[in-house]
Amino acid sequence: MSDKSDKIRILVIGRNLQHQAGLLQETDPEGFRVRVALGLIDALDPVELDPPDVILLDSTESIENSSEILMRIFNHYVTNQISVHTLTPGKENSDLNTCVDMRTGVNQLAEQIKSESALFRRIKNAVDTKRNSKTPPPPDQLKIDFRERGEYLSQILENLSGIIVVRDAIDPSSVYINRAFEKITGVAREEYYREPGVFLRAVHPDDRERVKRSWLEFLMTGGGETEFRFQQKDGSVRWVWARNAAVKNPDGEKVLVLTIAEDITQRKRSEIQLMEQKENLEEIVRSRTIELENLNKSLSQIIEKQKQTEEELRQAEESYRTIANFTFDWESWTDPDRKLLYVSPSCERITGYTAEEFMDDPGLLNRIILPDDLPPKEKHFQDHHNNPGIPSQGDLKFRITHRKGSIRWIEHSCQPVTNSQGQFLGVRGSNRDITLRKQIEEQNRQHRKELARISKETTLGEIAATIAHEINQPLTSILTNAQTAQRVLEDNFPCCPEIKDILSDIVTADRRAKEVIQRIRDLLGPKTIKRSRVDIGKVIAETITLLSSEISIAGISVHLELAEDLPGVNADRIQIQQVLVNLISNAIDAMTVTPVIQPTLTVSTRSVKTNDQVEVIVKDTGPGINPELSRKIFEPFVTTKPHGLGLGLVISNSIIDAHNGRLSIESDPGQGTRCVFSIPVTPEDSP
C-alpha cells in the first residue's frame, strides 16, 4: 500500500467521466490527485504500477468484454483495499444518480446524489475510513453492536460447520469470520483480520478465477453462488458451496453482508467417485457390450438413486441456510432483568406490530395478550428469568390480538443463554404462530362432539328397544302360560284357591313389567323419523370429513365412487349419517385391529331404477368377518371389538328398516367386508 503522499489518489476510468475528473481536481487541488484513464485497458497500468486509493468507474463501460481487466483491478481492490465506485454519467454533467460502492456491494451510495460536492464528500469519507482502518484490527473484529447480543449470535456462529463471514455494510473493515474458517482453510482467523487477501490465497489456484468472478457478480447483481476448493497448506482440499447475501433491516437498508461457505467436501467426493465409477463402467461396457448392458442399466439406476440422495442432501443444506438467514418464528432476546434486547422482524408477520414497536414499547406485548392468558404468561416469564436453567418446549400457549383485530394463538418456547463461564445472560424466546393448528384442533373437537351426539341419540333408543324385546319374549311366555293355567285350573280344579291366587299374581306382575318397559321405550325409544329430501352423496362426504382424523391415523386411503345426478332419498339426514358413521367406523376398525397392506375404504353409490332406490356400498379391505359370527351379525350385543357394545349394526339395521330400505353385509374372510344399504328415492325425484 503506497502511502507516500498525503494526497488522495483518484483514478477515473471512462471517457464520459472526464468532466467529473476535472471537477474533482478543481474542488480540492491539495487533497486530490486525479488521473483519468479513457478506458478499462488504459486503467490497467496505473492500477498495477501506482495503485490509487479510489477508483471511479463509469458503469456504462462494457463489463462483459472487459472482465479480464476488471478482474485484475479487482485483485488490487482485494489486496490494497482500493475503494471502487461506479458512476453512471447522465446527459447533464451533474446528474450523478447511480453510484454503487463495489467494495461492499451495498447500495448505500445509491441514494440520489444531487450534487457533485455530495459525491466528493462520499469519496473523502471512504478514503478516511480506509486510512483509519490501516492499523490491523483487533482479533475480536466484530465491532458491530454485537457486543450485547453478540454473545448469543457468536455462540451460534462459532459452532456452525460452514464458514460465515459477516461484514458491516457501512464499515466494510469491520468484519467477523467464524471458527469454521480455520478448520476448512487451515488459516488462523487473526491472519485474515490482518490481511483479508489470505482468503483468496487459501482458495485452490484453479478456482480463484471463479471465486473472483462470483464476487464480482454479487457486487453487480446482488446475487450469485459458487462452488470452489480451499487448499490447505498440507495440500489437502476442501470443497465449499458459497453464497453472498445482504442482510437488510426492516426498513430495507442493508446492514450486514454475509458470506456463507458450506463444507461440501463429502458430497463432492462421492460425486467424483460416482463419476469415476461411471467412467470405469462405461469402459467395461464398451469392451463387453451385450452381456453387460443390463448391469449398466442397474448401475445407472443406483447412480440415479445416489444422485437423488445428493439432491436431498443439498436440499437439506439449502433449508439450513434459509434458517440461518431468516427466522420464521418470532424470536426475542431478553436480558436477566427481562429487558427486551432483540425482536426478530418476523414479529410483524405474526402480530402486525413491527420489531421497533416492540422495542420502543415494552408494555406492548402484554397489552396484546388476551387478559385471560396474561397471568400464566407472566408466571412463565418470571419463572424462566428467576430460575434459569430449564428450557421450555412449547409449554406456554397464549392468545394475542393481531393489530388487525384477529386472535392468534402463540406457542412459546424459551431457553436460557449463558456465556462460557456459565453466567446467565438472559433468555432466548421463540414464539410460533399456531393459530391454524388450533383452528384444526377446534374443528376436530366440534366434529367429535357431533359424532358423539349422533351416536348417543340412537344408541340409547336402541338399547331401550333391545331390552324391551329381550324381556318381552319371556314375559310373553309367562303371561300366556299363566293364563292358560288359570283356564285349565278353572275348568278342572275349581277348588284350589291358593294356586288361583298365585296365577293371578303372576299375571298381574307380568302386566306391570310390560307397562314399565313400555314407559322406558316411550322415554328413550327411537325418535320419529324427520324425513326430507337428502342428497346422499353430500352426507357421505360429510361423514368422511367427520371421520377424517381416524382415517388418516389408520393410514387408510379413501375412494369415493359417487354416481352423478343421483336422485335425492326420502330420509332423516341425521339417522342416515349415523348409519354411515357406523359402517365406516366398522370398516376403519376392521383395517386397524388387523393391519392390512394398503388399507382402502371405498364408498360408492348407485341408482337402482327398477325399484326407485339409491344404493350405498361401503367396502373395506380388512380381514372380513368369520362365517359363524356373520350369521348373527344383526343380533344385539354381538361384536368383534373388545370395547364394542354390539349395537352399531343393530341400530343401522333398524334405521334402514324404518326407512323401508334394506341393509345387507357380505364378507369373505381375508377379502374384506361389503355393506350395502338401499333407501327409497323421494317422491319428488321418482319418475
Binding site: T466, A468, N472, Q473, P474, T476, S477, Q483, T484, R631
Partner: protein, 208 residues
Amino acid sequence: MTSLIETIYIIDDDSLIRRALSRFFEYEGYAVQTFESADTFLVFNHKTGPGCIILDVMMPGKSGLELQAELNAVSSSLPIIFISGRGTIPMSVQALQGGAITFLEKPVENDELLRVVREALEDHRSILSENAEREEILRRFHTLTHRERQVFGCAIQGMLNKHIAESLNISESTVKTHRRRIMEKMSANSVPDLVRMVARADLDNFTP
C-alpha cells in the same frame, strides 16, 4: 263348504313362546303347527283348510313382514296376526296395509289373542266358502256352449227373448231352448239367480 279342523300356525323364533301359545290353543281345541322361522313355514306344505298365522316380526332370517309379502305374492288366503316385542308404528302400518288382521304388542293377553284368532278364523272360513262357491259357479259356467254363453250374457242384461233372437239372428224358440238348458246347467231358478252368481264369481267380465 269345507269342514276341516281349524289350524293355527305359530311362527316365532322363541321356543318358550311357541310352546306356551301352542299349549293354550290346543287346550282351546285348535290344531296347532309351530315354526321357528319364516323359511321353515314356507317349505311346510300347509293344509288348505281354515286357519290363521300368529307371526312374530323380528326373527333371524326373513322377518315377519317379509314373510307376509311373500305370502301375498302367492295369493295365500291365510289371515295373519302379528305379535311383536319391539313393534314400531311404521311396522304396524306396513303390516296392516299388507292385509294383517291386527298387530299386537308382546306380551299378549290370552283373551285378546283368542278373540282375534276367532275373528281371523271366521274371516278365513268365509273366504274359503266364498272361494268354494266361486269355483263351483265357474265349474258350471264352463259346461255352457258358446251359443249358450251368448244367450246367458243377453239374458242377465234383462233382454227379452225376441230381442235376443234378433241380435243373435236365431229363432225365438231356439232362444227358449237355450235358456232352459242354461237354467239346468247353472242350477238356477230365475234370471236374478244368474245375476247373483255372476256377482259372486266375479263373472262380470266374462266373454260370451
